[in-house]
Symmetry: C2
Subunit: 311 residues, 2 copies
């Protein structure tokens, strides 16, 4: 029986432009991608905020999956967070063309009572103060993983360091890992982050895959297996990279929730699930590929990916 | 009994500056790195040209290994090819500060008679016309692999396309693969290169590893295993990236020469050997790490790398 997975983060309506087309008010946001990605493997408890303009269809999509929306607050008269982004060329980097935080700007997450016993918690990208306030409300989490971004590293470094002392895992991208540690070498940067509190850190490198660094003493598992680089799945159809990182985290945490084991070997398998889940997310705009995706397809690609790396 | 491996390419004296120090007239060049890297696994036949200024110590280094220098021409009164390069920050890209082709500018490789039966041939980076002239002199090669660079893609495209029709494998970096095909997606770029002649292509991505694309019909091996991404070994001590790509190719071809098998699964294992061999090359300036490296160390790191990727 998989454990429930609590996620707190943004829910957004995205307007996107890539070399493959444009979409308007597409369902997006970090908690959204995470929830839907994780829901293939484990039940998800979603905490977020939207405005009255949030389409009913999107609620239905959440509820049609194993996503509990009890923690979804609708602000009367409010507007949902909106992000306008675009990608050029190889689509390695998003350009933010416009952003309106709207109701997300005043988001003070309140965790519903039934969610407070969640054993697995994902703090999607948000201010470390807000992320910490979520942790204050969770009773006895067994595994807490946080995401962060350059903005918080630059503007709320102390709050972020305080948060890192309270989490089991950190997920961030390569540029952020370098910024946080001042070290260009990602292996060293990962190890340095481990000294700040987390037992493991996943450094996401976009199309180049991800690097896991673990504190072997803090985690059960084979000693010495402290660094693991995994390549991205070699995707050929990339239409929209939005949400790839959160889909990766969702697949990873979904696998951990499903197995209930958090040792180093499980983390590597979880990262493989995250890699494969993210490879589907980018095949179409927003969550469209997920809407027609099955667990069977994920598992088949996972085996294919496994065989690619077997030598 | 491993087969002999013929390599034709540059031998240089490098003056290098990285954030970790400076060296002057260090032994370098594509054929040099390739030869020494491959020599851990198979005997190498080196064809190249140097000037009278080429230090005796470097000859001795070649001869102390399984490298046959019969094909090494010394031009009387000539000067050896010199390259001055530097690296900043994360050292992802070399800056050429100065280059003097010297005797390498007039290099018209002549393959010694005993080398003409070589079954494995590596055409290190050079003009495709020169690379083709080497092939004209080799009698019945079983496996020909070429390297190339942006200069030839831009200035000798037709000659390069003619060469590609004659080789079994191509090794090039990600930017060059994109330039050659006009496709930003490396998997599609790799597959497009296969339509130009090669049965396999290895796209090198530096610190991000490498991508293998194979023509399953042309190679013996598991059907469907047509693309394989391997991450770089997670190195922490990077002093000088010079020669990493040629060391990768040397480790890869050395393994193929050692086993004499060129099916898809062997190519993946060969790429793993290349990855690990290159990870040693960058730990010190020039060839210094190779000089104190043992096959036992390579194999131990290979097992470690294998275990990292096993999930």
């Amino acid at each position: 029986m998989p454990e429930s997975l609590l996620v707190v983060g943004s829910i957004a309506l995205d307007t996107l432009r890539t070399p493959h087309g444009e979409v308007k008010d597409e369902l997006g946001g970090s908690a959204t991608f995470f929830s839907v990605a994780a829901s293939f493997l484990a039940p998800v408890r979603l905490v977020g905020v939207v405005g009255e303009d949030f389409p009913q269809d999107f609620y239905r999509m959440f509820r049609s999956r194993a996503i509990d929306t009890t923690g979804l607050t609708v602000v009367r008269g409010g507007k949902t967070f909106r992000w306008h982004g675009s990608y050029q060329g190889a689509m390695n980097e998003a350009t933010t063309d416009d952003v309106s935080l709207n109701v997300f700007g005043d988001f003070r997450p309140v965790i519903p009572a039934p969610f407070r016993q969640s054993r697995l918690v994902f703090l999607a990208n948000g201010s470390p103060v807000t992320q910490g306030s979520v942790l204050d409300q969770v009773e006895k989490p067994a595994l807490v993983v946080a995401d962060t971004m350059n903005l918080w590293i630059q503007t709320q470094r102390d709050a972020l360091l305080a948060l890192l002392a309270r989490v089991d895992g950190l997920v961030l991208n390569d540029g952020e890992a370098r910024m946080l540690t001042g070290d260009d070498n990602l292996v060293r940067a990962g190890r340095q982050i481990l000294t700040l509190g987390p037992k493991f850190v996943v450094i996401k490198k976009g199309e180049h895959g991800a690097l896991l660094a673990t504190d072997a003493r803090a985690l059960a598992g084979e000693p010495g297996r402290d660094v693991c680089p995994l390549p991205a799945y070699p995707a050929t159809e990339v239409r929209d990279p939005t949400g790839a990182g959160d889909s990766f985290a969702g697949g990873m945490m979904g696998y951990l929730a499903k197995t209930g084991r958090f040792d180093a070997a499980s983390l590597v398998r979880a990262m493989a699930y995250g890699t494969v889940t993210a490879s589907f997310a980018i095949e179409d705009f927003g969550l469209r590929r997920f809407e027609r995706l099955t667990l069977d397809e994920i598992n088949r690609r996972l085996f294919e990916y496994h065989d690619m790396l077997a030598f």
